[in-house]
């Protein structure tokens, strides 16, 4: 059972920005969905080591990439070839 306070906290962690008037609906829907997820409590077994899984890595070598102008094209705020973001401090 999650409360409106929990949902508000999750929304802040995820930076999704929910309104006060959405909180009640989100909370009741959340609880219905989490109740349904309880069926996972019946899952038996453990993750066996999957020997066929392996990492796909390459050497960290510089390769041709997109031109800087193209990459910056969609950014709303730019300065001297950098992207401007909201302040962190």
């Amino acid at each position: 059972m999650v409360t409106e306070h929990d949902v508000q906290h999750i929304a802040e962690l995820a930076d999704v920005g929910i309104n006060k008037d959405e909180l009640g609906t989100f909370t009741s829907q959340f609880n219905a969905i989490l109740d349904y997820f309880d069926t996972l409590d019946t899952v038996k077994g453990n993750m066996a080591a999957k020997s066929e899984l392996f990492n796909v890595l390459r050497e960290d070598e510089v390769e041709p990439s997109l031109p800087q102008d193209d990459v910056l094209k969609n950014a709303p705020f730019k300065e001297d070839g950098f992207i401007k973001a909201p302040r962190v401090m």
Binding site: I10, F26, I33, L40, D41, A48, P76, F77, I83, P86
Partner: protein, 432 residues
Amino acid sequence: MAGEVAFSPDDKYNAFLTTCKKAPHGSGKLAGVAIAVKDNISTKGIETTCASKILKGYVPPYDAHVVGLLKAAGAAIVGKTNMDEFGMGTTTENSAFGPTLNPCDTSRVPGGSSGGSAAAVAAGMVRMALGTDTGGSIRCPAAFCGIVGLKPSYGRVSRYGLIAYSNSLEQIGPLGKTVTDVSALMGVIAGYDRHDSTSQDKPCDHTPKAEIKGLKIGIPDEYFGKGVDNQVAAVVKKAIGRLEELGATTVPCSIPSMQYALAAYYVTCTCEASSNLARFDGVRYGPAPDTKKSWHDAYQEVRGLAFGTEVRRRIMLGTFALSSGYYGRYYAKAQVARENVRADFNRIFKDVDVIAGPTMPTIAFRLKEKTDPLSMYLADILTVPANLAGIPSISVPCGKANGMPVGLQIMGRMFEDERVMDVAYAYEQAVV
């Protein structure tokens, strides 16, 4: 460039988000063929929004690998199709730019999330389209609109340039009116790509064959049980009977892990979504954040306004399921469940060649019929097992219930996409 395809359709179904009035094409296997591309697949120079306000105006600086392959084969990319925002939905009603209507009955949804692609093909606006399938998003709209759609085996089609929602589940795949068209499009898009670390070196060079004598078909109890509409089940059983007349034999089977497969699917996809969609903050693309505000405030403002309700719900569910104290209960359990689904399929495929059942438990819903998220999720119960296991699965039209199309779903062993296409082709050829 070999020529141009003029494309100004009367899009009364809202299938397209963007159309290209004059689409250039080259020469090759698909020379001059008009192809629609789902709007979560990057197209250089053509706006790509994932049907979300957060990507309104975003013009990719590069092509997805599959789009490059289409162009190299001579196809004309004539437009970008509507979808549920970021692929999150089963009706295409979750698009920020209005729902797509089902060409078979405009009071009904086309299915989702690749609803625009399916409607464009069903209405005859394009011969073929690309969709993506995370939990049924190609097969569901194919079934609801009465066309053919293939979810390829995981890894056969590169995901490079697909705007990710749930990486471990989703595949790009073809939709078309016939199995032959679907097979031709699959032939162009399948194969190895070094830019996708899960890519397999398994190209698809195949002409469908209708020969299914001696084929063993598994019929899982769960696909005809509770929640499956009786009329839909009857239509699909009749279609399977047709396959028997063509020389196939059927064997009853059971997928016990189905009892928690849907929960495992929704935990997995929401967890992956919460991480994937963290990149949408308006800084590199999308609506500009207020740079004078602190980053949490600025991002919450942008994401609260520009993400739809279902997207925010799934991001929050995933954030919750991955949070400290809950990880073991949800995500870890879902991965064990997923292994159990794989194990069930592996066991069944020792005895049978393919598994058949309905694609969807019902016919297409009416617009606004499903308002509760959980009841919407439950509609995916028959399609998610193939995504959890990574196996190929096709939906082929097999008749009607209540005047609406019904899809026959055929699932196959890992990397046996050719075989599921052959079985669908055998059925299709027998009923034309």
